[in-house]
Point group: none
Amino acid sequence: MVPQPKSEIRKEQILKAAMKTFAHKGFHDATISDVAREAKISDATIYEYFSSKEELLFSIPGKTTRKHKEELESILEFLRGAADKVRCIIHRYFWFFENNPDYASVTMLILKQNRKFLEMPAYKDVQDLSRLVLHLIKEGMATGEFRADINPYLVRAAILGTIEHLVGAA
Amino acid sequence: MVPQPKSEIRKEQILKAAMKTFAHKGFHDATISDVAREAKISDATIYEYFSSKEELLFSIPGKTTRKHKEELESILEFLRGAADKVRCIIHRYFWFFENNPDYASVTMLILKQNRKFLEMPAYKDVQDLSRLVLHLIKEGMATGEFRADINPYLVRAAILGTIEHLVGAA
Amino acid sequence: MVPQPKSEIRKEQILKAAMKTFAHKGFHDATISDVAREAKISDATIYEYFSSKEELLFSIPGKTTRKHKEELESILEFLRGAADKVRCIIHRYFWFFENNPDYASVTMLILKQNRKFLEMPAYKDVQDLSRLVLHLIKEGMATGEFRADINPYLVRAAILGTIEHLVGAA
Amino acid sequence: MVPQPKSEIRKEQILKAAMKTFAHKGFHDATISDVAREAKISDATIYEYFSSKEELLFSIPGKTTRKHKEELESILEFLRGAADKVRCIIHRYFWFFENNPDYASVTMLILKQNRKFLEMPAYKDVQDLSRLVLHLIKEGMATGEFRADINPYLVRAAILGTIEHLVGAA
DNA sequence: AATGAATGAGGATTCATTCAT
DNA sequence: AATGAATGAATCCTCATTCAT
């Protein structure tokens, strides 16, 4: 572990509090005061680290999503066969969301329906993963691992939709 | 068609405007003024028909969901076989959401994450449909139409999740 | 007097309160609550009539400056001779400011140093009057009423500057 | 030049930055951070030298006005005749303000309308100069240099007002 | 039934100021 | 002497909601 500068630690602390608070109350119903209270700092301090409530929200996925994606990619390198890879992705997804339920709430319920977020770089990682799944399905169809008469887009929707449905209901 | 009292018509007009406005701006970002403008009435008039902004939101599913569910049930009576029935449900869902995109937005993005709504009677219809799907899957498993080694809960999640994923992405 | 719509009366009431409050406390030190208290209405009501504190400030000169300018112009029509006209302007200025000390404070101390205001149409009236004085001085020089070796710009500065100095000191 | 203690130099540096910043942005719109940035020091350091933002503002005239006044007085000793003296004062004023535009902005636009400042010792120098002008006018009237039927107060207002008008418009 | 007018309550944000290091 | 970090206090502004007409 590289020692982090103090301000980074504080930033993480705020993000964690924000994640928890937003997940439980929703973005609009949660106030900056709520987040500050959760983080045990003052309202004003939050603004030393994030310029607005919205920027705070958008900063939540940050490194986490990227890390999740990168870890996944590094694991996939060791696997052969599209089916195994897809299975691994599904598994990781569940494992990740189960261990980060607040993160799941924020990304799936709050960020997903925010138009501005859909245009932000952090959203690219989500799209990358989605594209990867599609790619693997096509690959599996080509190698004969999967049936050739399936609609890969529909299959992807089934995979991701099922995960979301199960995680969202949790 | 039974002639409706005037006030019912006005109520529908407001609900329609609310549905459109909430769908496009989100519940919090849409103001009562926005809804009133869309309905071409004054803010105060809305409060003659609905006691609060939240009640207005919760009133949107109202008859529509019930009607959707009832129509579905009446159609299903004419079908034999679980597979056909499930297929019919899926088909109706898509057909309904495609023809009522604002309704889809409101129910899937806004209401679903509102805890209070999950305790309201209108939500019961959603649950009923969900239970029906589960029931049909089990039925199909029993009759041998579906494989017996599937997890019916997972299959239901796959069906509903896929629909939601596809509709939500639209 | 044409009867004014109610909302115009309320607007005037707010403007009057704002003028008094801003004159006594300065724009920044005066709060919307101060103005509201002076007008004996609630803070929120101010925003029904003016979109922001700054717009409220900029609305103060409004009709008053225009009226002042127009009255002056109509009087000047009856006068012959540049000297008389200039004297009349000076007289009116003093008379006006003495009878509207808060207005004088707001326009001379607050608005004058606001860059945004200098680009607003209301400021045009101020400039018009300044130009008129210059024009009259030049006219008097041409007709021989005033000495021909004076610098008209300097004389104008002397006239307006003296007025401002005396009014500002009051 | 007497060598100044280091802390005096730092104080000057801050005052210079404050003068520039206040002149350009106005007292209220300029933040302590703005001043600190201009002075290339931290916010907190300013408070090592000045107890509050307002004290910082009030400290700007400080030595400068006094020096200006004293230089003027020493020059005037060499002049004979009220007219020459008044002319000299006017000349010095313009020369000074032209070479110190930020100082002019701060004293004429910001400090002048601050009631607290009018009660501070630094303001005394301004008044002294104003009184001196009045005194010279009266002197000139007594010696016959100036017409005896003028209103000395009005003439003083004309002199100072003209200067202010021209400098303020610059 | 309909609404113009008014407002209470609340929230995001800013910034001068403090203080431990 | 210098400052990074933290915050209390304030203020603008929004908006759901009420009510007299």
